[in-house]
C-alpha cells in the first residue's frame, strides 16, 4: 500500500471525541488519520448540544460515565487556555421548585459526593432569587456545583482538530467509513469512499453511528444507539437573558429542560428528549417547541417564544451498554475499551451526555488502554500544545480593533451586523488549517448569521466572499455541502437562462 495510505492510528469520526483523541495522540510519534463523513468536523452532535461542562453529580456512581466525567471536568481550563476556545466556569444550579422537589437535591448531592465532585453546596431560596432574579418565585432551594462550566462546543472541537493537524494528524472530511480490512482477527485498516487505508490501530469514534461500526468489527451485536432528539430555542440577548446555568431536578432519562446562558451571551432553552429511529432527523416540531417552553417556564416563568431568534435540534448518541462495575445496575454507560475479540481496535460507544465534558478524559483513558495493550508511546520533541485563537472583532477593545485593521483592512468591514463579524474573520476561516468551505462552517466558526436577522443581511455577502476566495461560481457555494447550494443560476440579464 502507498505510504500515504499507511497509518499507525485511524480515527473514525470527527466529533468532539475523535478530535480530542486525535489531539491527545498527536503528542506522540504516530502517524494518525482522522476521517469524517460530513463536509465538516463537529457538525453533528458536537455542534448541537447544551454546551455544558458538567460537574459530574448526575452520573450513576460506579459507572464509567461518572468516572470520566469527574476526571475530565478539571481539564477544561487548561484545554481552553491551550486551544483558545471560549470557556467559562461559573458553576451550575439544579433548581428545586416547591418543597416536594427538595429531596431530589439531597440525592444529587449524595451522588456527587460518591462520584468525587468538589465544591457542591445547597443555596437557599433567597440567595437563589438574588442570583437569578428571573427565577420562578416558588424556588425552594438549589444545588450549586461550582465546577460547572459552559463552552463553545464546536469551537472546542475545531480547536482540538486544528491543533492535531498542526501536530501532524491528517484530516480527511467527506470521507465515510465503509468497512474494516481484516487479517485474521486483526483489524489492519479501513475501506472508505476514498479508498482503503491501512493502520495498526482503528478507533471507533463514530458517535451516533458507533453501533454500526462496532457491529462491523464483529462485537456487541446487542449494542444499539437510539438517537435521542433534543430541541433548543435561542433567545435574543437584548430582549431576555438569564445569568446562570439552571437545571431542573432530573428525570430518569434526562437532565431535563434547562434555561442556560451561552458563551455568546444568549439564553438558550432546551433540550426535550425524544427517542427516534432516524439518525438524520434534526427537525424542529411544534410539539417540541411547546414542550421546551413549558419546561423552561417551570424554572423561569418569563421566557417567551416571541424572543426566539434561532431554533435547532441535536441528537444524543444514547446507547444501551451495561455498566461493567459489579453491583451497579445501569444500562446506558459509555463504552471505552480494547475488546479482547478483535486486535487493533479501540472502541468508543454510547458517548452521549456528558460526552462533551468527558472527551479529554476519554482520550486519556483510551491512551492508557493502548499502553496496557503494549503500545509504546514516544513523545514528539516538537509537539506544540498551543493553538492560538484567531481574532474575533466583537471581543476586541477599540484599540485592539484599530491595530488589527491597520494590519489587515478587511477586519474593518463588518459583514454580519448583528454579531459584528468582519470580512477579515471570514477570510481567515476560509484559509484556516481546517478550511471553512461552506456557509454553515463559517457560521459555526465565527458566529456570523446567528443573531436576530439570522443571516438575512450577510448571506449574499458571504456567498460572494466564499466564491471569490474558493475561486468557484457563486452557484456552487453551499450551506453544508455539495447538494445544499443556495443559488440556482444567474438571472437572465447576467447571462442565465430560465
Amino acid at each position: 500500500m502507498n505510504r500515504d495510505r499507511k497509518f499507525d492510528v485511524i480515527i473514525i469520526g470527527g466529533g468532539i471525541s475523535g478530535c480530542m483523541l486525535a489531539r491527545f495522540l498527536s503528542r506522540y510519534e504516530l502517524k494518525i488519520l482522522l476521517i469524517e463523513k460530513e463536509s465538516d468536523i463537529g457538525s453533528v452532535t458536537s455542534a448541537a448540544n447544551t454546551a455544558i461542562i458538567h460537574p459530574g453529580y448526575d452520573a450513576i456512581p460506579g459507572s464509567l460515565k461518572a468516572k470520566l466525567n469527574v476526571a475530565a471536568n478539571p481539564m477544561w481550563d487548561q484545554l481552553a487556555a491551550e486551544l483558545g476556545f471560549a470557556f467559562t466556569r461559573h458553576g451550575d444550579y439544579v433548581v428545586a421548585i416547591g418543597e416536594e422537589e427538595l429531596p431530589k437535591l439531597d440525592i444529587l448531592m449524595e451522588r456527587g459526593k460518591q462520584n468525587g465532585v468538589p465544591g457542591m453546596r445547597i443555596v437557599d431560596e433567597e440567595t437563589m432569587r438574588k442570583r437569578e432574579p428571573n427565577i420562578n418565585p416558588a424556588v425552594s432551594a438549589a444545588l450549586w456545583a461550582t465546577s460547572g462550566g459552559i463552552c463553545d462546543p464546536f469551537g472546542a472541537t475545531v480547536a482540538a482538530a486544528e491543533n492535531a493537524v498542526a501536530n501532524g494528524v491528517i484530516l480527511l472530511r467527506k470521507t465515510a467509513f465503509l468497512d474494516f480490512i481484516w487479517q485474521g482477527k486483526h483489524i489492519i485498516g479501513v475501506k472508505t469512499n476514498r479508498g482503503d487505508f491501512s493502520s495498526r490501530w482503528v478507533v471507533n469514534a463514530a458517535g451516533l453511528f458507533s453501533d454500526e461500526v462496532m457491529h462491523l468489527a464483529g462485537i456487541h451485536q446487542e449494542f444499539k444507539i437510539t438517537p435521542r432528539k433534543g430541541e433548543y430555542f435561542v433567545l435574543d440577548r437584548n430582549q431576555f437573558a438569564v445569568n446562570n446555568v439552571l437545571f431542573p431536578v432530573p428525570s430518569d432519562i434526562s437532565k431535563g429542560i434547562m434555561v442556560t446562558t451561552t458563551v455568546h451571551g444568549n439564553t438558550i432553552l432546551g433540550p426535550n428528549a425524544k427517542n427516534i429511529n432516524d439518525k438524520d432527523d434534526k427537525e424542529n416540531t411544534k410539539e417540541g417547541m411547546n414542550e421546551v417552553f413549558e419546561g423552561a417556564k417551570k424554572l423561569v416563568p418569563e421566557v417567551n417564544p416571541r424572543h426566539t431568534i434561532a431554533t435547532f435540534a441535536g441528537l444524543r448518541a444514547a446507547g444501551n451498554a451495561a455498566c461493567l462495575t459489579p453491583g451497579v445496575d445501569y444500562q446506558h454507560d459509555f463504552i471505552v475499551e480494547i475488546p479482547e475479540e478483535v486486535e487493533g481496535f479501540i472502541n468508543l460507544g454510547g458517548i452521549e451526555s456528558p460526552g462533551l465534558t468527558a472527551a479529554p478524559a476519554v482520550a486519556e483513558y483510551a491512551i492508557a488502554l493502548m499502553k496496557e495493550a503494549g503500545e509504546i508511546f514516544h513523545e514528539k520533541k516538537d509537539w506544540n500544545p498551543m493553538r492560538p485563537a484567531r481574532p474575533q472583532f466583537r471581543h476586541l477593545s477599540h484599540a485592539e480593533r484599530e491595530e488589527l485593521i491597520k494590519k489587515d483592512a478587511r477586519y474593518g468591514r463588518v459583514v454580519c451586523r448583528c454579531e459584528n463579524v468582519t470580512e477579515g474573520e471570514i477570510i481567515a476561516e476560509i484559509h484556516s488549517p481546517i478550511p471553512a468551505l461552506t456557509y454553515d462552517a463559517i457560521k459555526r466558526r465565527t458566529w456570523l448569521g446567528t443573531g436576530r436577522c439570522q443571516g438575512g443581511f450577510d448571506l449574499p455577502r458571504v456567498t460572494e466572499i466564499l466564491a471569490r476566495e474558493l475561486e468557484i461560481p457563486q452557484t456552487e457555494v453551499s450551506k453544508k455541502n455539495g447538494a445544499s447550494t443556495f443559488l440556482l443560476r444567474p438571472t437572465k440579464d447576467t447571462g442565465g437562462e430560465a
Partner: protein, 428 residues
C-alpha cells in the same frame, strides 16, 4: 482613535436618512455626516427595481433606484459628506458614535445631534417558529430580492411564498418574470398584509394563487428544500386538521413582517414602543433621549416611500434646529394614543405650538380591515377634534389625518388625544 466632529450625524442612507440629511443641511447644519454600512447610498431602495415610488411626492412612478438617485444627487449638491461601507458599532448618550470601515479603520464621530435611520430588518423563520428541517432554500423575501436584483442570481425555480407582505408579492412577480414558477402565496391572516395594488399587479395579473388563513406546517428536505406542508388555520391561528397539503418546491420565501432595527437606539436607552418596536417620538421625530431623532422605517413600518421621505425631512429639520440650539425642549407636548381599531399612531407626542408652522400628520395602522366607508377621528377625551372619511381602511395601508393651526385652541388644555377608525354610520 481619530475623532471627527459634526453638527448632525445620520446613521443610514435609505430614503429616511437621505431626506433627513438634506433637510438638516438646508436648515443650517454646517457639518453633516451620513454613515452607510453598504458600499453605496440608497438603502433597500437599490434592490427595489420595480416601480411605484414617488407617486405622491413627484407625481411620477419611479423605480426604487431612480427614486434614491434623486435624493443622492440632492444630498451631494447640498454638500452632505458620506461615509460608505462603514458600520456603526456603538453610540452613546453624549452623541459619540464609534464606527469601523476598511478605509478609515476605527473612527469616532462626535455629533451635536444624531438622526437614527437604520430602517428595518425582516422577520425570520425562527421568529415565526416554522417547524421542520433546516435545509438551504429558506430565505427572507428581501434576501432573495437582493440576490436577484443586485447580485444577479436566481435562488431557485419553484417557489412558495409565506406571507402577503409587499416584498413577497413583488418578488412573486419578479421571479415569474425570471422564468420561475411561484406555486402559491400563503397568508395566515384573513386579510392582505401588503398593499392591494401589489396584490392586483403582482399576483392577480400573473395568476399566482393567494391562500388566506394558511401557513406552513413543516419544511421538508435535508440539503435543499424539497417541499413544504401547508395547513389552513382558523381565526385563532389554530391549524385545521385534515387541511394539510404538500407542495413541492425548492425555495420558500418569507414575507412575514418587518421589525424596525433599533439595537443602536437601545444602547442609548431610547424608549421603544412595544407596538411598533420603534422609538417613542414627538412630531419633531425627537426620541425620548434629547438630541436623538429618528427617521423613516426605524420608527414604524411605512407603506409608501414617499411618507418615509416626508418624515425624514421633518427629522432632519428638527435635528438641525436642535444642533444650533433652536429647538426648545420644554414645549408643551401632549400624548397621542391609539383608540378603537388603531394599532398604533405616530407621533406619540404632539407639540401643540408647532401647529403654527403648518399641518401635522398623524399616521396610523388599523388593526382590522373595514371594507366600507370609515371615519378617522381625533378626540380630546370625548370631544371630537378632527374627522375624515375614507372609503375603507386596511392594515396593509397607512391611514393619516392632519391637525392644523385651527385645532390649537381646542386642544391647548387637552391631556391627551385619542385617534380611532370606525365604521361610518349608515354605511352598511
Amino acid at each position: 482613535m481619530k475623532t471627527v466632529f459634526c453638527d448632525v450625524a445620520v446613521i443610514g442612507s435609505g430614503p429616511g436618512g437621505l431626506a433627513s440629511a438634506i433637510a438638516a443641511k438646508q436648515n443650517g447644519a454646517k457639518e453633516l455626516l451620513l454613515i452607510e454600512r453598504d458600499r453605496e447610498p440608497g438603502g433597500i431602495l437599490l434592490q427595489c427595481i420595480h416601480n411605484g415610488f414617488g407617486v405622491e411626492i413627484f407625481k411620477q412612478d419611479l423605480p426604487g433606484p431612480a427614486y434614491a438617485q434623486h435624493f443622492i444627487r440632492e444630498a451631494q449638491q447640498a454638500g452632505v459628506s458620506m461615509l460608505l461601507d462603514t458600520m456603526v458599532l456603538e453610540i452613546s448618550k453624549d452623541k459619540r458614535i464609534i464606527a469601523s470601515s476598511k478605509t478609515n479603520g476605527m473612527l469616532a464621530i462626535q455629533a451635536k445631534a444624531v438622526i437614527l435611520a437604520m430602517g428595518c430588518r425582516e422577520r425570520t423563520r425562527a421568529q415565526v417558529r416554522l417547524p421542520g428541517s433546516r435545509p438551504a432554500g429558506v430565505y427572507t423575501a428581501g434576501t432573495a430580492q437582493r440576490w436577484v436584483n443586485v447580485e444577479g442570481f436566481m435562488p431557485g425555480k419553484k417557489f412558495v411564498i409565506l406571507g402577503s407582505g409587499d416584498i413577497g408579492m413583488i418578488m412573486a412577480r419578479r421571479l415569474t418574470f425570471e422564468g420561475a414558477k411561484v406555486e402559491r402565496v400563503l397568508e395566515i391572516m384573513p386579510y392582505l398584509s401588503g398593499l392591494m395594488r401589489n396584490y392586483v399587479q403582482c399576483l392577480q395579473d400573473f395568476d399566482i394563487p393567494l391562500q388566506m388563513q394558511h401557513t406552513i406546517k413543516r419544511i421538508i428536505g435535508n440539503e435543499r428544500v424539497e417541499a413544504v406542508e401547508t395547513v389552513a388555520v382558523d381565526d385563532h391561528w389554530s391549524e385545521i386538521p385534515g387541511s394539510e397539503e404538500t407542495i413541492e418546491c425548492d425555495t420558500l420565501l418569507l414575507s412575514v413582517g418587518l421589525i424596525p432595527e433599533n439595537e443602536l437606539s437601545q444602547q442609548v436607552g431610547i424608549q421603544l414602543d412595544p407596538l411598533t418596536a420603534g422609538p417613542f417620538v414627538d412630531n419633531h421625530f425627537q426620541t425620548s433621549v434629547e438630541g436623538f431623532f429618528a427617521a423613516g422605517n426605524v420608527v414604524h413600518v411605512y407603506d409608501l416611500v414617499d411618507w418615509v421621505t416626508s418624515a425624514g425631512l421633518q427629522a432632519g429639520e428638527s435635528a438641525a434646529r436642535y444642533a444650533s440650539g433652536k429647538l426648545c425642549c420644554d414645549e408643551k407636548e401632549i400624548p397621542v394614543r391609539h383608540g378603537q381599531n388603531v394599532h398604533h399612531v405616530i407621533p406619540h407626542f404632539l407639540d401643540i405650538n408647532s401647529l403654527k408652522d403648518g399641518e401635522k400628520q398623524l399616521q396610523m395602522r388599523v388593526t382590522k380591515p373595514l371594507e366600507q366607508p370609515v371615519k378617522v377621528q381625533v378626540l380630546d377625551g370625548t370631544e371630537l377634534i378632527a374627522s375624515r372619511t375614507l372609503p375603507y381602511a386596511r392594515p396593509g395601508e397607512m391611514v393619516t389625518i392632519g391637525l392644523k393651526e385651527k385645532h390649537m385652541e381646542q386642544i391647548k388644555n387637552a391631556t391627551q388625544l385619542v385617534v380611532q377608525v370606525i365604521e361610518k354610520e349608515g354605511s352598511k
